[in-house]
């Protein structure tokens, strides 16, 4: 895995080099500033597979650098690990908003850095394997019909306000200070009859529809502070701040109205009617760190239940599973 580490402290760069070498990550390039990193990216022929970035740096900081890296098509999906002393919630939010995949606070445990990089390494290998097996050319893409693999894939929706990768959303939950979690909840959203709706779609139409639903979610949730992610198929999950008063039924109504106003169509002019089901929220208070990612799964399960049987049938709403330590 080819790694680029950026920090204005040379001691950190030396330490990271040793830490990475200890885990057999030998291909490491280091830069002392964001500008040096951007110049390195512009001049490199073999793209980097992973970035380790500090936040607090003079001139251009690590959050601005993250945005700049994400704006480069080559690095739209490349894992970015923030390694920073900034543990304040506002920095964590800004980093994930800019496109960070994960976040570690200094001083760090060496084993923690190794563990995060192993996750990224597996991700990078999987992506390369898929690309090698199933190369997609831009000319083929609009004509191809949606296959199961396309349908299950979690799409990257960085261009939509509040939307980040699913993996980044899991990592975000693990980084948010415990006090902030007290007022947060997760909410799942499912597009009803998604298989039927997308059965006749091309990959392009399917991906556009997913982006349209995400856009509608983002618009409807505003001005509430949230992060959302596509969870594959027609499913979405959001982490909502100050979500203790969140009303799923009212949100579902508003979201479906927004989608109707968007007046969506297939490429051949047929109307595309998208209806969503919103599950009851899952509170994040009283959750152990290990069970936090389960709150996303639970929210999706609630949404699926609402889509199947209607509202009020969910078995787990505010915290039963949390009390059981799930």
């Amino acid at each position: 895995m080819k790694i680029l580490a950026v920090d204005d402290d040379p001691i950190i760069l030396e330490l990271l080099t040793e830490v990475l070498r200890a885990a057999d990550f030998e291909n490491v390039t280091v830069c002392g500033s964001a500008n040096e990193a951007i110049a390195t990216l512009e001049n490199t022929t073999v793209p980097f597979d992973c970035f380790l970035l500090d936040i607090q740096m003079p001139d251009v900081d690590g959050i601005q650098l993250t945005s700049a890296i994400r704006a480069m098509p080559t690095y739209a999906d490349t894992p970015i690990l923030m390694i920073t002393a900034m543990s304040d919630r506002s920095y964590i939010d800004k980093a994930f908003e800019a496109g960070a995949s994960d976040y570690i606070t200094k001083p760090f445990e060496i084993s923690e850095v190794h563990a995060r990089l192993r996750v990224f390494e597996a991700l990078v290998k999987e992506r390369k394997w898929k690309e090698d097996r199933n190369p997609v050319t831009p000319q083929q893409e609009p004509l191809a019909m949606v296959a199961d693999a396309d349908f299950q894939r979690r799409l990257r929706l960085h261009d939509i306000d509040g939307f980040i990768d699913y993996l980044a959303l899991e990592n975000y939950l693990l980084q948010v200070p415990r006090m902030s979690l007290l007022s947060m909840c997760t909410v799942g959203i499912v597009v009803r009859d998604m298989h039927r709706i997308f059965a006749a779609s091309s990959v392009y139409e399917y991906e556009s529809a997913v982006a349209d639903v995400a856009e509608a979610i983002s618009e409807t949730l505003k001005p509430q502070q949230f992060f959302g992610a596509h969870a594959g198929e027609g499913e979405f999950v959001c982490v909502i701040d100050n979500g203790s008063g969140f009303e799923a039924e009212a949100f579902e109504r508003a979201l479906n109205e927004t989608l109707q106003e968007m007046d969506l169509h297939f490429c051949d002019g047929r109307a595309m009617s998208l209806q969503t089901a919103v599950g009851d929220p899952v509170s994040l208070k009283i959750r152990s760190a290990k069970s936090l990612p389960n709150a996303l799964v639970q929210a999706l399960s609630n949404a699926e239940s609402t889509a199947r049987t209607g509202r009020g049938s969910n078995t787990d709403t505010w915290g039963k599973s949390a009390l059981l330590g799930l």
């Binding site: 402290d9 040379p10 001691i11 950190i12 030396e14 330490l15 040793e18 070498r21 200890a22 885990a23 057999d24 607090q56 002393a85 304040d88 200094k106 001083p107 760090f108 445990e109 060496i110």
Partner: protein
């Protein structure tokens, strides 16, 4: 890579940290002296925060937990006070003095004892 070669690598970085600690300590003392009987000038307080931030980033991982903790406290104290000109002096100087004292302790130990 073996645990032994990783330990060797970390020992090298620890030596570099100590080398770098000496000028950082001097700079902190210089800045402290400059603001002792003068108004708290923002760029001097920011310079103190930058040094504390750097020390805090690596000290604990390299085995200097106490120094790392005090440096992180100073960094956070400055970061969370938007009005640098009116920082409580006794807190600022207390944390600065602790960093200088802990740095002196580390710098007084012969090099080979860290390697």
């Amino acid at each position: 890579m073996t645990d032994f070669s990783m330990a060797e690598g970390l020992a090298r970085v620890r030596c570099r940290f100590i080398e770098e600690l000496e000028p950082r300590r001097h700079e902190l003392v210089r800045l402290r002296d400059e603001i002792t009987d003068a108004p708290l000038v923002e760029d001097k307080v920011e310079a103190i925060a930058r040094i504390a931030h750097k020390i805090a980033g690596t000290a604990e991982t390299l085995g200097f937990a106490k120094l790392g903790k005090v440096a992180a406290d100073l960094d956070e104290f400055i970061d969370q006070n938007p009005q640098l000109g009116v920082l409580p002096r006794h807190v600022l100087f207390g944390l600065l003095d602790d960093i200088v004292a802990l740095s002196d302790q580390i710098l007084s130990v012969p090099d080979h004892q860290f390697g």
